[in-house]
């Protein structure tokens, strides 16, 4: 098994390096085709009062007067050495910005994943077990509706209900505006709504998947056999049917990273959560290429890692892949 895993991982990694290279090249070409002048952007209002001589010097400092190929190679070399450049909108090194914000994103997205998994498993199983009951109709109906609702709209509805009308929870931010320190209890209170919305928005496909999958499995012979042996209903559903129904599900989970990134971007922005995903929007609004490029690369890496995770889970879960290899 380790050999199959190793081969698969090596295959993925061999694909990753050229992929990242192509992504960097694509971003560089787009940035060069952009009509925005980075020096002007950097100077902001001061652009009007700065002498052309100084603007020229900044240009030379950034190497913008060099041939394009050289600029690209320099940038790529810097990336490889871990130098992500300077964020032009936040006027700080990109690595520092990401380092400060990545933890908050991982915290929120991680909690959302856990909540989503637990809730979807319970609700999906319930819907399948009591198929066609009012509970099933409610659960699948909500899931279908949730698929069609844009997550930022759901987020606004949630804010309106829980923050504006009921005043139970704060509408956004990491801590209260008045507090100068980051208290865990305060963060937790601010985290509930964004985590719940992110989890809810990502959960619909999983609820429907668990439901469909379990309904199919509940018709299989071994489930009928288990029931015939007089096992308790709970044991039949949870220990026998659910287990077998969930086999393909980790694979699907790994492949959902792009949707998770999309959800995180929108939810973090609506709730002013200071993570990397909302930073990408701020960087985009300011046309801050170094920060945006670094964040895009980061997201691409996350997607590749998710695919790797999916393949790994597949190899471990399915003996056929283990023996015959990944096709």
């Amino acid at each position: 098994m380790t050999r199959a895993l190793g081969r698969m991982a090596a295959w993925r990694l061999a694909f990753t390096a050229p992929l990242l290279l192509v992504v960097t090249l694509g971003m560089f070409v787009l940035a060069k085709a952009s009509p925005f002048d980075p020096v002007r952007q950097y100077l902001g209002d001061r652009a009007l009062t700065t002498s052309p001589e100084i603007a020229r010097q900044i240009r030379a400092n950034w190497g913008l007067d060099r041939p394009l190929a050289e600029q690209y190679l320099t940038w790529l070399g810097n990336l490889l050495r871990g130098d992500l450049g300077e964020s032009r909108s936040m006027h700080r090194p990109v690595a520092e910005v990401i380092g400060e914000r990545l933890g908050w994103t991982l915290l929120a997205a991680g909690c959302a994943m856990v909540v989503m998994l637990a809730a979807s498993l319970v609700l999906g199983s319930l819907a399948a077990w009591r198929r066609d009951s009012w509970a099933d109709r409610l659960i699948s109906g909500t899931a279908y509706a949730n698929e069609a609702a844009p997550v930022f709209w759901t987020a606004l509805i949630v804010i309106w209900i829980f923050a504006v009308r009921l005043r139970w929870l704060p509408p956004g931010g990491l801590t209260d505006a008045a507090s100068g320190t980051v208290e865990p209890a305060d963060v937790l209170r601010h985290m509930i709504l964004p985590v719940a919305v992110l989890a809810f928005s990502q959960s619909s496909w999983l609820v429907l998947f668990v439901r469909e999958s379990l309904i199919t499995t509940l018709r299989e012979d071994f489930v009928i056999g288990a029931r015939a042996r007089g096992l308790r209903e709970r044991t039949v559903v949870v220990r026998h049917a659910l287990r077998s129904a969930l086999l393909p599900f980790i694979t699907l989970l790994g492949a959902r990273v792009p949707e998770l990134v999309t959800g995180a971007i929108l939810v973090e922005t609506v709730f002013s959560w200071p993570g990397v995903a909302s930073a990408s929007v701020q960087a985009a609004l300011a046309a801050d290429f170094p920060l945006l490029a670094a964040l895009t690369l980061l997201a691409t890496l996350a997607v590749v890692a998710g695919n790797l995770l999916a393949d790994t889970a597949y190899v471990i879960a399915d003996p056929r892949v283990r023996v015959l290899g990944v096709s």
Partner: protein, 284 residues
């Protein structure tokens, strides 16, 4: 027709979604007819009527500067549908060309194109869209380009897999023995067979494209702010949400939610009566 055990069991649940069809038709009628007959100006600013809650005169209320939200939402839907339509057409065209090239040429070109598809799929769509829009001035073209560039891969996959099955059909062998060149086979034999698939892919792309446009506009990166697009309206309305003014952002969202729900209900109905092989490709 759905046959077999699964089809038999689900058929009773799959009646034609009449409500969905009616909703779509009504919304389309509104989008086409309202601008022709409207007595009110959607851009009309009336500060005396600012932030009014829903009433008979303004069923969806008014926004911060007194514009009627219902009227603007209809105009917004119109802009979103047009942008979605344009983006769907462009992305499906790119996808069809790529899929045709990959499927008909085979070999290295096929592998290269499919790797490019994989590469585009590795960057989260919204982030890639944000990247494109951020570097160019906000405009309808930038949004259409950004949506098209992030969504052509589905069509490319469908077309390629269809071409690969078509290649094995006897009439293609016959055409080749008859002396047809590759381009002629593509034009005369592949394309006519592909049209229904391409059309379906385009129709299903429209809600995706609308969603994408709305998300970009909501983030302030999409259409120019003065255009009444649904995303811009939700973004505008969100600012006054904390003051309790919920109608300005929540009602426009309904205009994205309802058509998307209706289209997905119709697509599902259609899926149950169609070739199962397309389902996974279309990500229904």
């Amino acid at each position: 027709m759905a046959t077999g055990v699964a089809g038999g069991l689900t058929r009773s649940r799959r009646r034609f979604p009449r409500g969905a069809a009616v909703t779509l038709v009504l919304l389309l009628l509104a989008v086409v007819l309202v601008p022709l007959f409207a007595r009110l100006d959607q851009q009309l600013v009336d500060l005396h009527a600012a932030s009014l809650p829903p009433s008979l005169r303004h069923p969806f209320g008014t926004d911060e500067v007194g514009r009627d939200v219902l009227l603007r939402a209809v105009y917004g839907l119109r802009v979103s549908v047009l942008v979605g339509l344009a983006a769907a057409v462009v992305s499906v065209t790119i996808g069809t060309l790529a899929g045709l090239a990959a499927g008909a040429a085979g070999g290295t070109l096929d592998r290269l194109i499919m790797r490019i598809v994989d590469g585009f799929n590795s960057v989260p769509h919204l982030l890639f869209g944000i990247f494109i829009v951020a570097l160019f001035t906000p405009s309808t073209t930038a949004v259409v380009v950004s949506v098209a560039l992030t969504h052509w891969m589905t069509a490319a996959r469908i077309v390629r897999s269809e071409v690969l099955t078509l290649r094995a059909r006897p009439f293609v062998d016959a055409a080749i023995s008859g002396g047809s060149r590759r381009l002629r086979i593509v034009r005369r034999h592949f394309l006519p067979h592909l049209i229904p698939h391409i059309m379906l892919a385009a129709v299903l792309m429209i809600p995706h494209a609308i969603w994408h446009e709305t998300a970009l506009s909501f983030l302030g990166l999409g259409l120019p702010a003065h255009l009444a697009s649904l995303g811009n309206m939700i973004n505008d309305g969100a600012r006054s949400l904390l003051a309790g003014n919920w109608w300005a952002s929540l009602f426009p969202g309904l205009f994205i939610f309802l058509p998307t729900l209706a289209i997905s209900a119709l697509a599902q109905y259609w899926r149950d009566r169609s070739n199962p092989r397309w389902r996974s490709e279309l990500q229904l």
